[in-house]
């Protein structure tokens, strides 16, 4: 006997994937590793659990609102709760290879993946860290050893 499900987790996942990070239009919050869990019951009540890149991020309300809106549009969805979790703590290793590539190509932003040297998105040379604090809280400032340009780097 199969249980009738109002809406599938896969459909919700796909909808959330269309939500972009407000700071990086075109890059999905799912590819940035913000989606932790999707829960749905048989009557279409949905709980979407997200984790913030950092607790003081001013975009949390905006992202939650976007996630709620795309999910509410799915047929079979009765109610949507978006919850920001305190755990696990987000880190850059949650960023997918696709997002890493897009950040480099579209935004000239590198990603500080753990234990890996940060490469310059312009000339692929090695960079050295200049400051942990860059133009926004989740970006540090590196300098490229090849082209001498500043490299903004996504960090946790």
């Amino acid at each position: 006997m199969s249980i009738e499900i109002a809406v599938s987790v896969q459909d919700i996942h796909a909808a959330v994937e269309t939500v972009n990070d407000p700071e990086y239009p075109g890059i999905s919050i799912v590819d940035l590793g913000l989606l932790e869990n999707v829960k749905v019951n048989e009557i279409g009540e949905v709980v979407i659990e997200l984790i913030p890149t950092f607790s003081g991020c001013p975009a949390l309300q905006m992202i939650a609102q976007d996630v709620r809106e795309v999910t509410e549009k799915l047929s079979g969805v009765k109610k949507v709760d978006v919850v920001w979790l305190n755990s696990p703590v987000w880190n850059v290793n949650r960023v997918t290879a696709k997002a890493e590539k897009d950040l480099a190509e579209k935004f000239i932003v590198a990603v500080q993946i753990q234990d890996r040297k940060v490469e310059c998105p312009r000339c692929q040379s090695e960079t050295t860290i200049k400051s942990h604090f860059g133009p926004s809280r989740c970006r540090s400032v590196h300098v490229c050893s090849g082209c001498n340009e500043i490299v903004e780097t996504l960090r946790d």
Binding site: G56, H132, R137, D156
Partner: protein, 249 residues
Amino acid sequence: MIKSVLPSEIKEYLLAFADDEHLMGQQHTEWIGIAPFLEEDMAFASIGQDELGHASMLYALILEDSSEIDAFIFNRKPEEWRSCQLVESNHRNWEEALIRHWCYDMAEDLRWELFRESSLPELVLISERALKEEKYHRQHADALVENLLTVPASQSRLTKALEEIVPEVVELFSSIPGETEAISSGLVSGKYCDVFSTWRSRVENRFGTLDSKLFTTSDHQSRTKRHSDFGPLYGRIREVFLLDPKAVW
């Protein structure tokens, strides 16, 4: 323990920390656009954002409904705040702001460490997150101070600022309402003032030995009373909220 049944003493205890974090964050963000160089402008903005985030996580534990955090922060009477003088004082000189950042962040991780084995599981998670962020705050403050101390003119200005600010830090560690109950319930593993000696050795390792009197003087008696700088500060931080109290930011 769940938040709806947190005893009022425990809420008071958490409120002192939340209010310290919130006001410290607000004070840091006041350097946006006017810090002496761009890197510090950005660093203070980011560090301030972290502190505001920590405060929000703590307020969420205290309040039944986390959507009321803004209203709770911006609509309270001054006597309902539990912040300490260090975060209320109006330090408008850059050297004082930097020294306060150094002093506060060298004390903050010691405060979060007390929650590592808290009986409130949510607090354990929050402290892990905060401690991870705080590492960068300390690195930032200490690297800058270390460099500036090699310049004689900077060194004398920083030392003067330190002598002003250390007595305010004494109060940060003490007079926390609800601390006895927080310890007996297992919320926190010990008294904050018991780790003051660790903070003091951090200070003296970086700046050299200071007059002992600085570490024992506290001219502010209680977190239930506000420092005279609180009024103008509260006026500035509420300004935008009061334009439209119902707005969602």
